[in-house]
């Protein structure tokens, strides 16, 4: 049940997208997300959909995996759609009791839903094709200029990669503790909201303790290996752009240009 969260879960396969420099994928994802907010017409969303579909096809990751990530946001999606649907003023289409569905509301609700789903699927493409480690490598490299402003870039990147690394471990741990408590007769499913929240205590306390214990162990292990952060640290696999990365940047620029053109002229 908890394994449905795809964020930070790498899908191992051999594809063009997998081979791209993580910096390209990171920038492309950011650009894609921005483009979703740049376009405002159906043509624009069509362009985004085509771009996304091509990327998914190229990544060779089964579409099922992308949809799995959607499950986590179904609730947010639902709230967004409902609020937009009923609370946008404008030309009334249907009215039930005090609730009115307007033409504008319908339009915004659908757009929001499309936007949010594309956003999640788009970032899933990145996380499914890039290992968390190379992703933070890319972040570190891209944020290097911020060092002048005394931003601890390396430390931040390190924290990110540790956090990402621990997501699957903590999920597994949650699953295990949950089972252990169910074996002791705990009930996580039935009851009202308050009862359910109370039922979480036997799960959360051990989980927090285990997270702290793991953090302690990790800190100790890092210390034992004389880890001391950013300065003069070299990489085993430094990031280098290849030909395909330049092509990818070209494709990305073209897509972004199309989006801007659509925004202005359509």
């Amino acid at each position: 049940m908890l394994r449905d969260i795809t964020l930070g879960q790498y899908y191992q396969t051999d594809s063009v997208i997998h081979k791209l420099d993580p910096r390209v994928k990171l920038i492309a994802t950011i650009c894609f997300i921005i483009s979703l907010f740049v376009v405002k017409s159906w043509v624009g969303y069509l362009a985004a959909a085509i771009f996304l579909a091509v990327m998914i096809k190229l990544s060779k990751v089964p579409f099922k995996y992308m949809v799995k990530g959607m499950k986590a946001i179904v609730f947010i999606l639902l709230i967004t759609v409902v609020f937009n649907l009923f609370l946008t003023p404008g030309e009334v289409l249907v009215s039930v009791w005090k609730l009115k569905i307007t033409k504008e509301g319908l339009r915004i609700a659908v757009m929001m839903a499309v936007r949010l789903s594309f956003l999640i699927v788009g970032s899933s493409v990145m996380t499914l094709t890039t290992t968390p480690n190379s992703l933070t490598d890319a972040m570190e490299k891209l944020m290097k200029p911020l060092k002048i402003l005394k931003v601890p870039v390396h430390e931040v990147a390190m924290m990110m990669s540790i956090a990402l690394r621990f997501i699957p471990i903590l999920l597994e741990e949650t699953d295990k503790i949950m089972k252990a408590q169910i074996a002791r007769g705990a009930d996580f499913e039935s009851g009202n909201l308050i009862k359910k929240a109370k039922a979480m205590v036997p799960l959360l306390v051990p989980l927090f303790i285990s997270a702290f214990r793991r953090a302690n162990d990790l800190a100790m292990a890092m210390e034992a290996r004389c880890y001391r952060g950013g300065e003069h640290r070299t990489k085993m696999k430094p990031l280098k752009y290849a030909g395909r990365d330049r092509i990818a940047y070209g494709v990305l620029a073209a897509y972004f240009a199309v989006c801007i053109v659509i925004r202005i002229y359509l």
Binding site: E173, K176, A180, A183, G185, P202, P206
Partner: protein
């Protein structure tokens, strides 16, 4: 009153390329009151198997019966099953959460809907059964030593008064002294209450001394299921699957190869000593 596994199959990972066949056509009958050792190498499916026994995992094929009832039938009360089949997970001390030892042990019986008095009586009895001294009862479980924490966690399951007690690697991460203490305590408990105990382990040495039946798992199937003496006779096969017979078996085997006509089915040091003395023509004193 028994547990029956009928052609149980379990595949996880669904229909993807990563699918793992964790259990393959497992058939077992676990009668009341037996002391069983479930042995297998890491990844042999032993942990998956025990999670089937109290309904935490639903088999992808086959049926599990407890006292003659299919545990995955529509109207079967899973909660009751879990109180009857107590499962102590690996590193059970990781599940402790209450402010003091006593309330943590009360968690199980409380979930069964028992009265406060009954709950506390059971918790007290369970803590006594695992041999924890009174002075620890109102301490935070997190202040105890590793071995003590584990006892508390085992007591937490015992307080539900299970008919079948399953312990998944109860000695993992303990020092030899802690290990012997826990195992002795379990053996004593078994003797006093007569419940069925299933001890999951990857070490023959640990279980050989205690159990009356050994089930060896390998790659999701049952490889051997017999009394310890018979299972250890297959020590070559056991080695192939990453396990080993107790050291005594090896000594007796070598003695025989070197020409001393001893029987090779001794499982404990005492038995081996008797056998050697018998062959040497001396009586055991």
């Amino acid at each position: 009153m028994s547990l029956i596994l009928d052609h149980v199959d379990y595949v996880y990972g669904g229909d993807t390329a990563l699918a793992v066949h964790a259990l393959k056509d497992v058939e077992l009958v676990i009668p009341d009151g037996q002391f069983i050792g479930l042995i297998g190498h890491t990844g042999s499916g032993k942990s998956t198997l025990v999670q089937h026994l109290n309904g935490l995992i639903k088999p992808t094929g086959g049926t599990i019966y407890f006292n003659g009832e299919d545990i995955h039938a529509q109207d079967y009360d899973k909660k009751k099953l879990r109180s009857k089949v107590g499962l102590v997970f690996q590193y059970p001390e990781h599940q402790l959460f209450e402010i003091d030892v006593f309330s943590d042990v009360c968690f199980g019986p409380k979930n069964l809907g028992l009265t406060k008095q009954e709950t506390e009586l059971r918790a007290y009895a369970a803590l006594k059964q695992v041999g924890l001294e009174d002075e620890y009862f109102y301490q935070s479980p997190f202040d105890l030593s590793g071995g003590q924490k584990r006892r508390v966690a085992i007591a937490g399951v015992l307080a539900m008064k299970p008919e079948v007690l399953i312990l998944d690697e109860p000695t993992a991460g303990l020092d030899p002294k802690g290990r012997d203490e826990i195992l002795d305590q379990i053996a004593k408990l078994k003797e006093e209450t007569g419940i069925t105990v299933i001890l999951v382990s990857h070490s023959m040495e640990d279980v050989a001394k205690y159990v009356e039946r050994i089930i060896v798992m390998n790659q999701g199937s049952v490889l051997f299921d017999d009394v310890p003496k018979e299972v250890f006779q297959h020590f070559r096969k056991l080695e192939e699957v990453g396990l080993a017979a107790p050291q005594v078996t090896y000594i007796m085997q070598e003695l025989r190869e070197k020409g001393l006509p001893v029987r090779t089915d001794a499982t404990t040091i005492v038995e081996a000593k008797q056998e050697i003395l018998r062959v040497l023509g001396k009586s055991y004193t």
